[in-house]
């Protein structure tokens, strides 16, 4: 065979190979029924999640996020990729709600738990009673502490009074105004 032809055929084979493998190996940001944050997988359908939680008898952590929120990016990197946080989260049913979503169910959840900026976590019982809230960004240690509190409350059957009281006692949370998102992105 002509050497150049052979090389060219090999070239196209490599090209198709790279194209195919890379396209399939790319990490999925969101797909059917799930979205991915850091190294964790979250359900996107609250109704389904509640069923899972009831069956497993575990609390539900609802994560309200957006694509442009820089603290969400920090959560992805510092929390959802951290083995300690991930193993703690294994005891919860995880639901992620994109605040920019137009879906009616998502809008209802936002309204029900009065969430109007990202990121926020609300931990609830399968029945929807608030166990604790993590408004804004909490460093991993504090985040873990919140989750443990929620877990204990769930075991002992308590709930937070109205869901906002824990925020005051909790660690500093710094929701960033919208311009903050542009700031970070621009850097």
């Amino acid at each position: 065979m002509n050497p150049r032809k052979a090389m060219t055929i090999a070239f196209f084979a490599a090209l198709l190979g790279i194209g195919y493998v890379s396209m399939n190996a790319a990490p999925v940001l969101s797909g059917e029924g799930y979205s991915y944050h850091g190294e964790t997988r979250w359900q996107t359908d609250y109704a389904d999640a509640v069923e899972t939680a009831a069956a497993e008898d575990e609390p539900v952590v609802i994560y309200f996020w957006t694509t442009w929120c820089t603290y969400c990016e920090d959560y992805n990197q510092n929390h959802y990729s951290d083995p300690a946080v991930r193993s703690e989260l294994d005891d919860f049913t995880k639901v992620a709600v994109n605040l920019d979503s137009d879906a009616e169910a998502d809008a209802r959840l936002q309204q029900r738990y009065n969430v109007n900026y990202p990121p926020q976590h609300v931990v609830v019982t399968p029945e929807g009673e608030v166990l604790t809230r993590i408004p804004g960004y909490a460093p991993p240690e504090d985040f873990l502490a919140y989750l443990e509190t929620a877990e204990e409350r769930y075991q002992s059957g308590e709930t937070a009074d109205d869901g906002s009281s824990t925020a005051a006692a909790g660690p500093t949370s710094t929701p960033r105004p919208e311009s903050g998102a542009t700031t970070e992105a621009a850097q």
Partner: protein, 816 residues
């Protein structure tokens, strides 16, 4: 119609006439009216450059009656950054591009003329591109009146202050990066036209013009490469100083977008070197030549059309669609046309290697310089594909399946890495083979290839591994990600050794000064490329960072003692705190309305909050308020309260407050100010003067074991009127081996100081300089296609070398 639009319209007409006459001359093979073409082309260029100068003048003189000027500049900016505003958004960038292409087309027309029929079509295409850009500019003009932004404003209205320049562009690198990039894109227009016309001619049944124009193509491509390399490098250095895009290179879509034409242009230069008239590469070389520009247009569409999400799509808007059309046309002419030709014509091989000898002869038939060069072209093609695919497949996949996938820098890094190593090994082998012959070079490539594999397997520590691999990664990523960066050393060493050795021999063998300089240029480029590859992985893998907090800096209670920066080897001393607001003492005209401006705008100002300035001509103190007349006009300032306002008649004053139109019978307009918002113009109240930039920073000194490393101010600049956007002011010590990079975030009186240690940045700077100097030498001194030997050449330049020079690739026809 304003002067700018008139210039554009005339340029469009001249360009259109020139294109039509040239096309007519080509189609009918009739030279009538052709004498007008040089004048028309010159007129187009002059008019476009005139329009660009007019826009620049409007920027420098802050002519806010132009909406584009108003949107992209402000009085507090220095002249340099006012000029930068010209290409801060789509309209101005396209104008800059169009003007440069027009000058290129003019230069090509003047130096070469268009004596042949096909030459006319080449010229028609380049002028056609200019005309298209001009049409885009007429549809979305950089000279639109500011009233498009204020539809309700009365005639003659101009705002007092501009919106300001995108803070990210307030950087010296950004002042030169875009023009350099557009020069390179403009230079690529010529090869595109030549390549496209070549295939049109082939389809029309003659043998095309590529063989006659190959020298000209080579020069355009080389000059284009020179500028494109500079543009990529300037972009990288910019992102390095404007912290946060991951250092020099972060594979942001826009960065990737400019790398794609660069990689493909590099491949094309190799392909054109491998071209022999009527023989090898007679389809591929012209086809690649034609498609570089198509790729450049594609990548520009990426930046400008907003099809792809990117963190720095500075500009979005209607020009996007025009770019998509241009993309379609250039793809058709530059890619589809050659490809169709290739499919339609039977490839009859004329290669000597077709007969298949056995044993070593057969191997020698495979290993020829032209085949190795072909392999290089293919490797660059694959590298281009990796970048192009990374940019494109998320869009494709989400369109096909609805799944959103992310492309991380890992994708680009891990796929490109083995390809780059292979390219370096190939470079070493090519050079080695050319000098030492087949047998010795095979041993060489085997040794260095093996060393590369061993290097990949030996990781002295985890830091050396290319990427942190996650267990659920695809196998390919696991394998390459786990490889050690040691693997970069053997290919780099082989490439440099081979190149230098061969150059040594070649320089010794020739007595021509030009040939020697050209050889040195080729060597500089290839050694530079190898060193660049060497610097990149280490720059990322061995960068270290540590942080320390300093509290109470704003209160003046700074602890100025030396303290450790985290676990790093650095110490830092905070020496002070600085906070500056810009502009300081601006002229009242730059932010406040005069009394006559208030009266001109009249009713439309009613109830809006405005800043006004003027000379006090009367003061009336009443029981509840004091009123002050400005400039003996119907505009008064009202200040509540019965005390004195501290103003005197004849004084220049500034006041801010709500404008009430026909609020009192005795005045047309009254500005309701308070004691805090009115004051003399030479010491205006803070509330009345806009703050455009708040620069906060700490002055600090960074030490390592051997003493002071760097000192200065690090901090941030905040732009309150531009969405609170913040830009870092970083402090960089550029050391021979290691850069020390200091970032300080100052808020609420606390400074968070991070010191980064980035190795090998200077090596990278040197390697870029080597690439540029090398290409300049080749461009000027190449005995065959250099500008020195070929400054003004007609279409009949020889493709056969003379005995004087021994240019690359002449001997390999008789390789066996």
């Amino acid at each position: 119609m304003n002067p700018g639009t008139v210039l554009l319209a005339l340029a469009f007409l001249a360009g259109l006439a020139s294109t039509s006459l040239l096309t007519r001359a080509y189609l009918l093979d009739d030279d009538r009216y052709l004498s007008y073409v040089p004048k028309l082309t010159a007129a187009t260029a002059v008019l476009l450059v005139g329009a660009l100068s007019h826009l620049t003048y409007q920027f420098v003189s802050l002519d806010y009656s132009n909406a584009y000027v108003w949107e992209n500049t402000a009085a507090y900016l220095s002249v340099l950054y006012r000029v930068t505003g010209v290409y801060a958004a789509n309209e101005g960038s396209v104008l800059l591009w169009a003007a440069i292409v027009a000058v290129v087309a003019l230069t090509a027309g003047v130096t070469r003329g268009f004596p042949t029929r096909r030459g006319k079509l080449v010229h028609a295409l380049t002028v056609g591109v200019v005309t298209y850009f001009t049409a885009m500019l007429l549809l979305q003009s950089p000279f639109a009146s500011v009233r498009t932004a204020f539809p309700n404003a009365p005639p003659g209205f101009t705002p007092t202050s501009g919106q300001g320049l995108n803070p990210l562009l307030v950087d010296p690198y950004m002042a030169i990066h875009p023009p350099v990039m557009f020069v390179s894109y403009a230079l690529l227009t010529m090869p595109f036209a030549i390549g496209a016309v070549h295939f049109i001619a082939l389809f029309r049944g003659d043998d095309g013009l590529f063989s006659a124009w190959v020298g000209s193509v080579t020069r355009w491509l080389r000059l284009g490469w020179l500028f494109l390399t500079a543009a990529v490098a300037l972009g990288g250095l910019w992102s390095y100083t404007v912290l946060g895009w991951g250092g020099i290179w972060a594979w942001d879509p826009v960065e990737t977008a400019i790398l794609i034409p660069w990689l493909f242009l590099t491949a094309t230069l190799h392909a054109v070197t491998n071209y022999r008239p009527g023989g090898r590469y007679r389809v591929l070389a012209p086809a690649m030549t034609a498609s570089v520009f198509a790729l450049a247009v594609y990548t520009t569409s990426v930046v400008r059309s907003g099809v792809f999400r990117s963190i720095h799509s500075f500009a979005d808007g209607g020009i996007g669609a025009s770019f998509l059309v241009l993309m379609g046309v250039t793809t058709l002419l530059g890619v589809v046309l050659p490809f169709t030709y290739w499919l339609l014509t039977e490839e009859d091989e004329v290669d000597a290697s077709d007969s298949e000898p056995s044993g070593e002869g057969r191997l020698a038939g495979w290993v020829t310089r032209s085949n190795l060069l072909h392999l290089a072209v293919l490797l660059f093609g694959l590298l281009t594909f990796v970048s192009l695919w990374g940019l494109s497949f998320p869009v494709l996949r989400s369109a096909m399946t609805g799944l959103e996938v992310s492309v991380e820098s890992r994708y680009y890094n891990l796929w490109s890495y083995p390809l780059v190593l292979a390219a370096l090994l190939l470079l070493g082998f090519y050079m080695d083979f050319d000098r030492e012959g087949l047998r010795r070079s095979l041993v060489g490539v085997a040794v260095f290839g093996l060393a590369t594999l061993v290097g990949a397997a030996v990781a002295p520590s985890e830091t050396w591994r290319l990427a942190s691999v996650r267990p659920d990664d695809a196998l390919v990523y696991q394998v390459i990600g786990n490889a050690s960066a040691l693997s970069v050393l053997p290919p780099v060493a082989y490439a440099i050794l081979g190149t230098v050795k061969r150059t040594w021999g070649r320089i010794a063998a020739t007595s021509s000064r030009d040939a020697r300089l050209k050889e040195s240029g080729i060597t500089l480029i290839h050694v530079g490329a190898a060193l660049l590859v060497l610097s990149l992985p280490f720059m990322y893998l061995f960068a270290g960072q540590a942080s320390v907090m300093a509290t109470g800096v704003a209160a003046g209670a700074v602890d100025t003692s030396q303290r450790d920066v985290g676990t790093s080897a650095y110490d830092v001393r905070v020496l002070g705190y600085e906070r500056t607001e810009f502009p300081t003492d601006p002229e009242p005209e730059t932010y406040a309305l005069s009394s006559s401006q208030v009266l001109t705008r009249g009713q439309s100002l009613n109830t809006s909050v405005q800043t006004v300035h003027g000379t006090v001509t009367a003061i009336r103190e009443g029981p509840q308020a004091t009123v002050v007349q400005l400039d003996d006009s119907q505009v008064w300032i009202g200040v509540a309260g019965n005390g004195s306002v501290g103003l005197e008649t004849g004084q220049e004053v500034v006041a801010r407050g709500q404008v009430m139109w026909e609020f009192v019978p005795t005045a047309d307009a009254i500005v309701l100010a308070g004691p805090e918002t009115v004051g003399p113009a030479d010491d205006p109240p803070d509330a009345a003067v806009p703050t455009r930039v708040i620069a906060t920073g700490v002055s600090l000194a960074v030490y390592d074991d051997s003493g002071l490393v760097v000192s200065g101010v690090a901090g941030q600049r905040e732009y309150p009127e531009q969405g609170g956007l913040q830009v870092r002011d970083v402090l960089i010590d550029r050391g021979p081996l290691v850069d020390t990079y200091v970032i300080a975030g100052v808020s609420d009186g606390t400074a968070s100081i991070s010191v980064k240690r980035v190795p090998f940045v200077t090596l990278m700077r040197l390697s870029i300089a080597a690439l540029l100097v090398g290409m300049l030498l080749v461009f000027v001194f190449d005995p065959r296609h250099g500008v020195r030997t070929n400054s003004v050449v007609g279409s009949g330049e020889s493709s056969a070398p003379t005995a004087r020079d021994r240019p690359e690739g002449v001997t390999e026809v008789s390789e066996r």
